[in-house]
Amino acid sequence: MSDDAIHEMMAAFAIGCMDRKNFIQFKDYVDAGGELPEGALGELQNIVSLIPTILEIEKPKESLKDEVAKRLIGLQDEIKTRIREEKRKTLLGKTYQTAQKETGRPTFQLSNLTKSTIVKETKEEMKAKTKTKYEGSVIPEKPVQYMTPQPSIPQPKEKSAGGIIGWLALLISVILFSVLGYYSFTSIETLNKQIEELNHDITLFRSELSRTNNFMNNYLSFIEFFNYKDVIIINLTSVDPNEKASARVFLSFDVKEGLIQFKNVKPLQPNQGYQLWAVSKGVAYSMGVYTPSSNEYIHISSFPFIPKENIEMLKITIESNTGSPTPSVQSYLVGNFPQQTKVR
């Protein structure tokens, strides 16, 4: 991006008049630590914030302060939860100064909202919970009760006769349990195998479905894109005639959308990406950085804001995956912008 373009972007961002797309693009660039002239954006933001100082200052109604206080009280639960979450992590051990009381005009003072009171409250709640826990517990308050002799229940006397029958019954039971155990074991094993096979099938179907979905999504965006009017197709080929790498760019200036498809491009390092540029009057404007996984159609993330008549060519360079403000290396793929679209 040229110096002028960066300064125009910064000015528009500072005064807050960027349209949605450019705002997102620029904010993401700034948030990602994108390169900007040092201190320039902050300086403009400060300058802009001085504009309202020259207005004739008007005080808001006193009742508005009450309104703010009411809204804050309404937020007590949310804030309490946040403080508690924060406190529970590093819980107890630290003490906080108790809040100083003040009286007079309408205030924002919210009962039980300072950290000290919240912490105290948390401790008390924990105490209460602990107490409740023991109150509801099965452990008796007087363990001595367990020591009290319980009334005895008369037990049936053992019969001395019938020993053989007893042994026989025991033997039959053992055999029955063994048979039942073996049957259960083999059944479970068979069932487990079947479940395993089913799981395998499900995994296969899922991956098949996912592949189909990907294929559909990829081509749907491509098919949908061709519903737009004035679609321009630009073929980019490698500057090295021995390399088969290529890319195709589809642009619709009516709806300001585009697609790009890469073919036979060389694999990238983990921190690299293919950056697409629109070249106008010798200046390259970034159209986004892309890291294709195969031949899929990728939406153009930054549509060029320059009129199509002024675009001479598109080119692709290999840059870092966060993008570069200007092309830092020689072009990898290039393609001329179709001549018939230019105004002569």
């Binding site: 002028d4 300064h7 125009e8 910064m10 000015a11 528009a12 500072a14 005064i15 807050g16 008049c17 960027m18 349209d19 949605r20 450019n22 705002f23 904010k27 700034v30 948030d31 040092e38 201190g39 954006l41 902050g42 300086e43 403009l44 933001q45 400060n46 300058i47 802009v48 914030s49 001085l50 504009i51 309202p52 100082t53 020259i54 207005l55 200052i57 008007e58 005080k59 808001p60 508005l64 302060k65 309104e67 703010v68 809204r71 804050l72 937020l75 949310e78 804030i79 403080i83 809040a99 100083q100 003040e102 205030t107 924002f108 003072q109 909202l113 300072t114 950290k115 804001f305 320059i306």
Partner: protein, 192 residues
Amino acid sequence: MNRFKELTDLELMREIANFESRALEELYDRYSPLLYTLIKKITPDEETAEKVLVDVFVIVWRKTFRFNFNNGNVYSWLVTLARNKAVDTLRRSRNSLSTSQIYDDDYEDYFIIPTFLDDMDSLDLNTAMSLVPKVERALSKLTDTQKYVLHLAYYEGYTIDEIADKLNVPIETVRSKVMNALHNFRDNLTKE
């Protein structure tokens, strides 16, 4: 004696970050006249302006952790926050395409809360108000077109595309006009 009156803007923000409601009250006392005046200038009516002002202080209370304590620029953060909130309300009232999204926490964090870098100079209310005569002179030296473009962008909440439509000029022209207006304003202010 209210100890919060003695605190700087930045110290107040630190107290607010600890959910000290009286620090927010002090911040309200200091900033509400300026912020209300700005919001009232942007929003369509007084009732909306009052609602937006309340919303702004609720955002400050809930989202102090989003304030950049590294640059500590309380003044610009509050003014920009109030301006963004007011413009968002205005754009929604006129069904602008730029605000068709649902207003939720994520939206607020991304579009309403200012994005300030660490290398930004700090500014507080007292310093800003001491610059008023210089700001007046610096702004008065701009051309009428530059003043109008700044007015449309800052107070009327129009985007570059909308200004281009309104003035029937190319988008590129508006972009450079905005940049030149701000650069001239900055240069005039530096010379003062």
